[in-house]
């Protein structure tokens, strides 16, 4: 009896020891693997971000020494905004134009891409033939390089291009010069963005949809709800947490849009600055006007804007989602 007890303790202690060892090893392995990501993130993420904060208080031209200027860079930024509010043209208040454009762009793109992604996901969630093909074709834009996508769309959007060809079938005589007309450029960019991002978010919605319990649908069906009502009253409310996620990610992406504008409107923002964005202005400050300090101040402004918008949105809708 005693012997068995003893051997049991021995075995126990051995097990716990080997468990300890395994645990230690596990911790070590985890730290190693995390360490790589953390180190890279520290260097290229946090260090760069903190350096930008530091830079926003300095005047610098890359070659010479840095000169501390206090809040002068922020003053330049706000002066530009105030001047824009007073109706100065694009070339005298580019940052304001960028801000105005990006807000309009975000207001178009985020709701559109979210709704479209949801609808696409609803289709992809059906048990119909060839659904895999649909899923792949919806997702394809997400894995295509945005620069190449924009270049292709520039062709499609030409005055005598394919898009106008189809539009004229519906509305004869309506053939805007999408890329060269300042009244249409931002919409053209928005369309490309919606097309390019919906597929990506569709996957998120699809995953969320597949976790909605079947019985809710069955109950709704018993109550006589058709497919559209089931979508509106069952699917959409059940997707709320995912909608919050998609909208927040969409807002972050839209507010700092750069690539599409750079390719479709060009680095100077296209006709009348119609395709100018804040990110484009930051880039021009840093590399054309050679004012990295002002560029850093403007980046901080953009960061604050994104932070506030996403924070307010999350705060408001998370509560409803949790209810």
């Amino acid at each position: 009896m005693k012997l068995t007890n003893f051997s049991l303790t021995l075995i126990k202690s051995k097990i716990s020891k080997s468990f300890e060892k395994t645990r230690q090893r596990e911790v070590l392995a985890a730290l190693t693997l995390i360490g790589v990501a953390v180190a890279l993130n520290m260097t290229f993420g946090y260090f760069a971000a903190l350096f930008a904060l530091y830079l926003s208080f300095f005047k610098w031209d890359y070659i010479g020494p840095m000169e501390f200027v206090g809040l002068r860079n922020f003053e330049i930024l706000f002066r530009e905004l105030v001047r824009g509010l007073h109706g100065a043209p694009f070339f005298l208040a580019p940052f304001y134009t960028g801000l105005r454009n990006i807000l309009l762009y975000t207001a178009i793109v985020v709701p559109a891409q979210t709704i479209l992604a949801m609808v696409l996901a609803a289709f992809a969630n059906q048990k119909i033939r060839g659904v895999q093909f649909y899923k792949v074709s919806y997702f394809l834009p997400a894995v295509t390089c945005p620069v190449i996508v924009s270049l292709i769309f520039i062709w499609l959007f030409m005055k005598n291009g394919l898009i106008n060809y189809f539009i004229q079938m519906v509305i004869p005589g309506f053939a805007p010069d999408w890329i060269n007309d300042r009244n249409y450029l931002l919409y053209a960019i928005s369309i490309v963005a919606i097309w390019g991002t919906s597929g990506h978010f569709m996957v998120s919605f699809l995953a969320a949809m597949q976790s909605i319990p079947r019985d809710i649908y069955e109950a709704a069906m018993l109550d006589g709800a058709g497919p559209i009502r089931r979508f509106i009253y069952v699917t959409v409310p059940m997707l709320k947490p995912m909608i919050v996620y998609v909208v927040v990610m969409g807002l972050i992406g839209a507010l700092q849009m750069f690539d599409l504008a750079y390719v479709m409107a060009g680095p100077s923002g296209g006709p009348g600055g119609a395709g100018y964005t804040m990110a484009l202005d930051i880039y021009r400050e840093a590399f054309l006007k050679l004012r990295p300090g002002v560029a850093a101040a403007k980046s901080l402004f953009l960061f604050t804007l994104i932070f506030i918008v996403t924070y307010v949105f999350q705060k408001r809708f998370r509560v409803i989602a949790a209810r």
């Binding site: 395994t22 070659i63 006709p271 050679l290």
Partner: protein, 467 residues
């Protein structure tokens, strides 16, 4: 039982340490100045020696050669150019076995990249320097004064007007031109003949008239210009007597108050406003268009595709036409002429790129050797004359038998010009060109009035140059 299979604890530690050190090293390397470029020492005898930095001093009479690496950065006008550079670098290395050149091609945003590399302390030893960017680099003392290292005779080989942008306030030269291009008038001979015109336009007024005649007679737009383009407008202003532009302080913006500037700017903007927008309102064919109006990407495409009869562009269009439109024959289908005259004189624009040396280069002497070879008669013959992309900056090469006839003809115009204006508006040339061009484009599209455009130009320039 080993939970992790083959990985033992010690090896896990080793892997962890290696990974952390590697990442740390990368992080450290990216934020730090690199160590001096590697110096290989080739010895013929084993002897005691003292090596300091890159200079090798020997206490015995051993012949010791140090091999020196220099980094050379440029953009590329295509694969042929890159291959030619590689070839010429090889030739240079054969002649100078001590020097090894590392050729780095930066395809996009070249000067921004170079700027950033100066900021990070990893700038190349030798690099291309566009005239418009030169003042920033010179002012910041980022460049080696090359005139301290080469003889006066060597410098006198070059066209003197090409040296101007690279001259510092101290009178020293901080770069030597590797090649250049100038604005020329390209005209389609077939369309001229169809319209009953026998010779290219002589004055700016004739340019507009001819464009109208060609459009009315042939239905093809007579002239294509860019929307905007401060540098394309400049010959019009200067040839009509406007003062040479130089914008370095806010008061210099008063250039836009000059009557000639106002008048010529109005004329230039009206070319498009009347020639395109006005004509279309009347239901007529436009006689002035922008390349995108005729479905072309740039002037070269518009002219090569025979969608317009005349364009004013640079020598860079010549190899493009030869390559993309081989059926269009020079001298038969198209020809070139000097830019039209203004009321006072005849002026053209010149664009040049220099090779400059980093002031902090560890091997200034070797870098100078390399620059001298690339820019010298031998290098330029191979890289510029034979390739036919641009014009040689060495005067003597103009008569070289390998010169393309188109380029040779454009060089023969030099004597006709009273002034050759280099693309350089002051320390902020790039920003200035882009801002003024945006305003010009806006006025050309009719979004703002011409007087509003002129006011905006002045204000924008003033603000740009403050403090």
């Amino acid at each position: 039982m080993n939970y992790y299979g083959a990985i033992s604890r010690t090896s896990a530690i080793i892997i962890a340490v290696i990974l952390i050190v590697a990442v740390g090293a990368i992080a450290f390397y990216t934020t730090q100045k690199p160590t001096p470029s590697p110096t290989t020492i080739i010895q013929t005898q084993i002897q005691t020696q003292v090596v300091t930095k890159t200079l090798v001093q020997t206490q015995t009479q051993t012949r010791i050669q140090t091999q020196v690496f220099i980094r050379f950065a440029g953009w590329s006008a295509g694969e042929t150019e890159m291959k030619n550079y590689e070839k010429i670098i090889k030739m240079f290395e054969e002649k100078n076995p001590r020097i090894k050149v590392k050729y780095e091609v930066i395809t996009q945003m070249f000067h921004e990249n170079i700027m950033a590399s100066f900021g990070a302390g990893v700038a190349p030893d030798v690099f291309y320097l566009d005239s418009a960017w030169a003042p920033i680099f010179i002012e910041k003392k980022a460049l080696l004064p090359i005139s301290d290292y080469v003889s006066e005779d060597f410098i006198n080989q070059y066209y003197s007007f090409l040296l101007k942008p690279f001259k510092g306030a101290d009178g020293k030269l901080y770069g030597l031109p590797k090649d250049w291009s100038m604005l020329i008038l390209f005209y389609n001979k077939k369309l001229f003949k169809k319209a009953g015109l026998t010779k290219p336009p002589e004055t700016w007024e004739e340019l507009e008239q001819y464009a109208k005649i060609i459009t009315d007679k042939t239905g093809v737009p007579g002239l294509a210009i860019y929307l905007g383009g401060f540098n394309r407008y400049m010959p019009v202003a200067l040839s009509n007597g406007a003062p040479e532009p130089w914008f370095s302080k806010p008061e210099d913006a008063s250039w836009f108050d000059n009557d000639v500037v106002k008048k010529t700017m109005e004329w230039y903007i009206n070319l498009y406003l009347k020639g395109k927008i006005g004509r279309e309102k009347e239901g007529l064919k436009p006689y002035v268009v922008a390349p995108q109006d005729v479905g072309a990407g740039w002037l070269g495409d518009a002219f090569g595709g025979e969608k317009v009869a005349m364009v004013i562009s640079g020598n860079w269009m010549i190899p493009f036409l030869a390559d993309q439109y081989p059926n269009l024959k020079f001298g038969v289908d198209w020809d070139i002429a000097s830019l039209p005259r203004g009321s006072v004189k005849r002026v053209t624009m010149a664009y040049t790129v220099a090779l400059a040396i980093n002031a902090k280069s560890e091997h200034p002497k070797e870098a100078v050797e390399f620059v001298k070879y690339i820019l010298g008669p031998e290098g330029q013959k191979k890289l510029v004359v034979e390739m036919g992309h641009t014009l040689p900056s060495i005067k003597a090469l103009a008569k070289d038998s390998a010169m393309w006839p188109e380029h040779a003809k454009s060089l023969s115009f030099i004597e006709k010009y009273d002034h050759v204006q280099i693309f350089l508006w002051g320390p902020k040339s790039g920003e200035l060109e882009s801002t003024i061009s945006d305003i010009m484009a806006s006025a050309m599209r009719g979004e703002i009035t011409i007087s509003k455009a002129l006011d905006s130009m002045k204000q924008a320039v003033q603000e740009m140059l403050q403090k």
